[in-house]
């Protein structure tokens, strides 16, 4: 039987560059590998990997496996699973880390079921049990109303990790690592899906994930207009971005790309201003990493006041414009 050793990150590229989730996974994997006294490796599979392999080393990888193929350009589960399955079978890592991203959500279950091993998705904390060398996998459950710690004694242990749950290491270009290009055959006939077209839904302004300030609206906002008016004006005043909880996205008031929550984007701004958001656990899951949360809601009993540090009880239609005006004055001083 093969010996399972080391930690492997299945990395992701965005526009040819190492994605932020990948450096976070490397940051989360490094202490686990150190504790095991084993290697931290990273798989990068795309049409062209370029400098991303060096980046992965700078962010903590000891070894990078590069697989390049034109069919890996756009993510398709049936293509990437071939790479993931073959490499993980060959490398036999103890732990496989993936992002809780649209790619990781799609790929990790395929891999776990192919390998016949367990998978915990959407983990927010990992620790190593020093006695068993098994991972304690902490993940929110019941929409964030509770947390579970899972373990599995079947190797490899596979987990996906929530965005912003782990911190990347300081980028260090002097770090040494090895880049290898294993030959992996990709069978085009095993790709049973066909991407016909891609439609981008433009969200103007600062990207939500990068915004230091987010003004977010919920069901209580009542319609699409305020997202373009009152909420946007407050966000613009603070050089921030506008987001939303799930109901506005489901109702089509805002594009899905603005949805913050368990099944939307995960954000961690300096300031999160929740406007007419009740504060369901599923929404808090997407913004609980915010440094300061401010809540504006007419319902004093709303759960959001249990999460926020500052709050105003009142109709947002009156509170938000007054807040914006006063901030404009104060910031101009």
């Amino acid at each position: 039987m093969a010996e399972y050793k080391g930690v492997i990150v299945y990395g992701e590229l965005v526009n040819g560059k190492l994605s932020s989730i990948t450096s976070e996974l490397l940051g989360g994997g490094r202490p686990l590998a150190d504790q095991l006294n084993e290697d931290l490796a990273c798989i990068l599979a795309s049409d062209a990997v370029g400098n991303a392999s060096k980046e992965a080393i700078a962010f903590g990888a000891d070894r990078v496996y590069v697989v390049e193929h034109p069919l890996l350009k756009e993510y398709q589960g049936d293509a990437h699973i071939q790479i993931a399955e073959k490499l993980v079978r060959e490398i036999t890592p103890r732990i496989v880390l993936m992002g809780q991203t649209s790619i990781g959500r799609d790929l990790a279950p395929r891999l776990a079921f192919r390998l016949g091993t367990g998978l915990s998705t959407d983990c927010i904390d990992l620790s190593m049990d020093p006695e068993t060398n098994l991972l304690q996998q902490t993940k929110p459950v019941y929409g964030g109303n509770a947390q579970a710690i899972f373990t599995s004694d079947i190797l490899p242990q596979i987990v996906t990790i929530r965005a912003k749950a782990m911190s990347p290491m300081e980028r260090d270009e002097s770090r040494k690592g090895e880049v290898t290009s294993p030959s992996v055959e990709l069978d085009p006939l095993a790709i049973r899906t066909n991407i016909v077209e891609k439609i981008k839904e433009e969200v103007t302004g600062i990207k939500l994930e990068d915004a230091p300030v987010i003004v977010s609206g919920g069901r209580g906002v009542g319609g699409p207009e305020p997202f373009k008016a009152a909420l946007k004006e407050l966000a613009d005043t603070l050089h921030g971005a506008v987001g939303a909880s799930r109901p506005p996205a489901d109702h089509g008031w805002v594009p899905e790309a603005m949805h913050i929550g368990l099944t939307g984007k995960i954000v961690a701004p300096d300031i999160y201003i929740a406007v007419a958001i009740s504060g369901a656990s599923q929404h808090i899951a997407g913004c609980s990493g915010s440094k300061t949360m401010v809540a504006i809601n007419k319902d004093p009993e709303a759960n959001i006041f249990r999460e926020a540090q500052f709050g105003v009880v009142g109709r947002y239609e009156e509170v938000v414009p007054a807040l914006t005006e006063k901030l404009k004055d104060l910031l101009a001083e």
Binding site: A148, T193, E256, T263, I271, R306, Q309, F310
Partner: protein, 269 residues
């Protein structure tokens, strides 16, 4: 093309929209305790999956089989899927099915689907509303050896193919896949339609088919808690002290202005 047979996997769960305060954990038993009068619901993403199946039936005809796994499945609750237009209901219901993980659940569902035999599309919610794992749909596809498309916001069937709008981070993409296939559905597909009175009456008369592990060729040791791969080491609720400073004012507008002053004072803005 002949009528489309879709299978929808639906799970009975504690109402995820219930206020957070009702969710309590018995840490000794590693179990959720809920108020006894709290009625379970069909998982919210499973409802979107049901709606996806109904939309396919609206346009392409055919029949819908609803499949649910668990124990003590409340008939009134799961029959909602029949009242809105599901044709048949199969329950994998037994004590042995309790407390499974994604692995044992997907395995039992896949064996049931094999027993059903003929199918074109299998719809699952993107994730359950209790353990939030998001694995079962993909697991069924792997076990059955058929393709899977995740996070669908629209599904149409033509000429033996499904055309699926899949949500991606900056928009969506259109994917074509040959049938049979598994499709997992996300909230943007749209809420489940309301049941008409006629549908409710038809559903009331229908009796679900109940299958035990042996009916799908499985030993009780292969399902539920006995068949799981992940061990639940601990279930808990992190202690959280609410500490919200409520900013007052003579009017909401004044409170808004006072909030600006307070945030500035605290050097937050």
């Amino acid at each position: 093309m002949p009528d489309i047979h879709t299978i929808v996997c639906c799970k009975q769960v504690p109402d995820p929209e219930a206020p957070p305060s009702v969710f309590k954990v018995d840490t000794a038993a590693n179990k959720l305790t809920l108020p006894p009068d709290m009625k379970p619901v069909v998982g919210q993403y499973d409802e979107f999956a049901m709606e996806a199946a109904l939309k396919v039936k609206d346009s392409a005809g055919g029949k819908i089989t609803v499949l649910s796994l668990g124990n003590n499945i409340v008939r009134d609750v799961i029959k909602k899927t029949l009242a809105v237009g599901g044709d048949e209901l199969i329950l994998l219901e037994d004590e042995a099915f309790e407390e499974g993980d994604s692995w044992s659940t997907a395995y039992a569902l896949a064996m049931a689907i094999k027993k059903i035999g003929e199918y074109d599309l299998i719809f699952c919610g993107r994730e359950s509303s209790d353990w939030d794992a998001g694995q079962v749909g993909l697991g069924i596809a792997e076990i059955l050896g058929i393709p899977a498309v995740t996070l669908a916001r629209k599904v149409e069937v033509t000429d033996g193919k499904a055309r699926i709008e899949q949500v991606i981070p900056d928009g969506y993409q259109v994917i074509e896949v040959n049938l049979p296939a598994v499709v997992t559905v996300t909230s943007e597909l749209g809420s489940l339609r309301y049941a008409a009175l006629k549908g409710i009456m038809v559903a009331a008369k229908k009796q679900p088919t109940v299958w035990k592990p042996a009916d799908i060729g499985l030993d009780p040791s292969q399902v539920g808690a006995a068949g799981r791969l992940l061990k639940l080491a601990r279930l808990f609720q992190p202690v959280k002290e609410p500490k919200c400073e409520i900013i007052e004012g003579e009017s909401p507008a004044e409170a808004g202005a006072n909030l600006a002053i307070r945030l500035r004072q605290a050097k937050i803005l």
